[in-house]
């Protein structure tokens, strides 16, 4: 579960995943490339949590650069139980070793884990929580996220970490924070997202819909194939950004250096080849190809335009609805066998998480389902999540 475990006696405990930099405690990003890496500073989000009385209990294992399905590419091995993949940060919260998990949501692993374990998570509006001191992967959509056993704990932690940080160029100025806490009345269920989920996930969605209806929320089924296209565009943007962000790992200034070289080219080539895992190498090559002269306009530029299409479609929906309900995954467990048979599953399973990632919108997972709202509507999403929580007890 842990890459590093720390003795901590404070009342409120936080576990940080290994994409969050911690001064004096190794941060590996789940990669051989950064094994033993010691950051010179601590991430702003963790500093803010510590200022509010949280104590760090350790660093949770992550998949390589937080890019995979559920930690299956971690350099020191995936966390599994009975042949099923588990996300370490979520398991620490479930085991009461931490009250809150501080994580990076890059390709949806945090939301998948929350949905599969019954935890509550929030991926806040892009720019709400400083990314200073996090390892950059897909900067235009990744966010610091939080996970806990209940809505109250997630809200408490989000209140601690949210707010402008001049050290992060994408941190929103305080003047832009216009929180929307109005009482939610209508939500949409995006039926495009239900076609390929299994019976367990469908039951979670049905149960959530029933609970919200029982609480007076109007629930309307909608279809939108443009939002459903977000996955394809996010795969392109995420990979292109990954390709650029990990170009810094060359075995010279920090990180893994191969012992097998006779010249500078071999040092670069062998360090990166030996330091990165297969999924990451594949995504680097794919990202590089999308940025090539032949593909830039056809693929990368198109994906940027699709991002606007998705944002506009959500905006249209939010004129009528307070939130959009959708699953966060197609199944409530990923077996090791299934992932071994389809090692690129993360590029398909993000069908459910990519819409909120590419658009920067907040997403709260509770009761096994995902609620996506307009920017700064976290409080409204929490109100809905509390209704699901109440129903689940």
């Amino acid at each position: 579960m842990y890459n590093v475990k720390i003795d901590c006696s404070v009342a409120k405990k936080v576990i940080a995943d290994d994409m969050i930099l911690t001064k004096g405690v190794a941060t590996t990003a789940g990669s051989k490339m950064l094994e033993g890496f010691m950051s010179l500073f601590t991430s702003e989000a963790l500093v803010r949590l510590e200022e509010k009385g949280y104590g760090l209990v350790g660093k949770a294992k992550v998949g390589e650069f937080g890019f995979d399905l559920l930690g299956e590419t971690a350099v020191n091995g995936a966390l599994t139980a009975d042949g099923v993949l588990k996300l370490a940060a979520a398991e620490a919260v479930l085991a009461n070793e931490a009250d809150v998990a501080l994580t990076m949501d890059i390709n949806g692993s945090v939301r998948r884990a929350a949905a599969q374990t019954g935890l509550v998570s929030v991926k806040p509006t892009y720019g709400t929580v400083s990314r200073y001191g996090t390892i950059p992967v897909a900067c235009s959509g990744e966010t610091v996220s939080l996970m806990a056993k209940n809505v109250a704990d997630v809200k408490d932690a989000l209140a601690a970490v949210a707010g402008h940080d001049p050290k992060d160029g994408t941190s929103l100025p305080d003047s832009m924070y216009v929180t929307d806490a109005a009482t939610p009345k209508r939500i949409a269920v995006l039926t495009d997202m239900l076609a390929n989920v299994n019976a367990d996930v469908k039951a979670k969605v049905d149960s959530a819909v029933a609970a919200l209806k029982a609480d007076g929320i109007e629930v309307v089924e909608v279809t939108n194939d443009k939002i459903a296209a977000a996955k394809v565009a996010w795969n392109i943007l995420m990979s292109a950004e990954l390709c650029n962000n990990v170009s810094r790992y060359d075995g010279v200034k920090f990180g893994y250096r191969t012992p097998n070289f006779t010249n500078l080219d071999e040092l670069y080539m062998n360090s990166r080849t030996e330091g990165f895992g297969e999924l990451l190498k594949t995504a680097i090559l794919f990202g590089s190809e999308t940025l090539s002269t032949d593909n830039y306009m056809k693929v990368y530029d198109k994906a940027l335009r699709i991002r606007r299409v998705v944002v506009e479609e959500f905006k249209r929906l939010f004129q009528e609805f307070d939130a959009v309900l959708m699953p966060a995954c197609s199944t409530l467990e990923y077996t090791v066998d299934a992932v071994n048979n389809d090692k690129y599953m993360a590029f398909n399973e993000n069908f459910y998480t990519a819409p909120a990632s590419i658009s920067g919108l907040p997403a709260v997972v509770a009761g096994g389902v995902q609620l996506v709202g307009k920017a700064f509507s976290e409080d409204k999403l929490f109100t809905l999540a509390e209704k699901l929580e109440k129903e689940g007890k």
Binding site: Y126, G141, T170, P173, V232, R257, Y268, E278, I306, R307
Partner: protein, 93 residues
């Protein structure tokens, strides 16, 4: 995507794949190319690109020099250093 393009991508990104990895990567590319049809079906002729999801301009801070780290601390992470410099193999024969 073919093997020659893949070879160039490997070189460009300083990566070297095994034969088995190459087969996997080619199948990955084929799957991605197939799904790009979903994007082509959406008309974006009159849609502007969206690079940043939030309407923030380039943030410029005050031009003040701030010393953040000591050279020794930064170089403590380096695989090899010598008198304040990072060491790499000879670049000229």
């Amino acid at each position: 995507m073919d093997r020659e393009i893949l070879r160039r991508l490997e070189l460009l990104n300083q990566l070297k794949l095994t034969e088995a990895e190459k087969e996997d990567v080619l199948s990955f590319f084929a799957a991605r190319e197939a799904e790009h049809k979903v994007l082509e079906a959406i008309d974006t002729a009159n849609t502007e690109r969206m690079v940043h999801v939030m309407p923030i301009d380039t943030v410029v801070r005050e031009d003040v020099v701030v010393k953040m780290f000591e050279r020794e601390d930064l170089q403590a992470q380096a695989p090899e250093t010598d008198e304040g410099y990072w060491c790499v193999p000879k670049v000229m024969e």
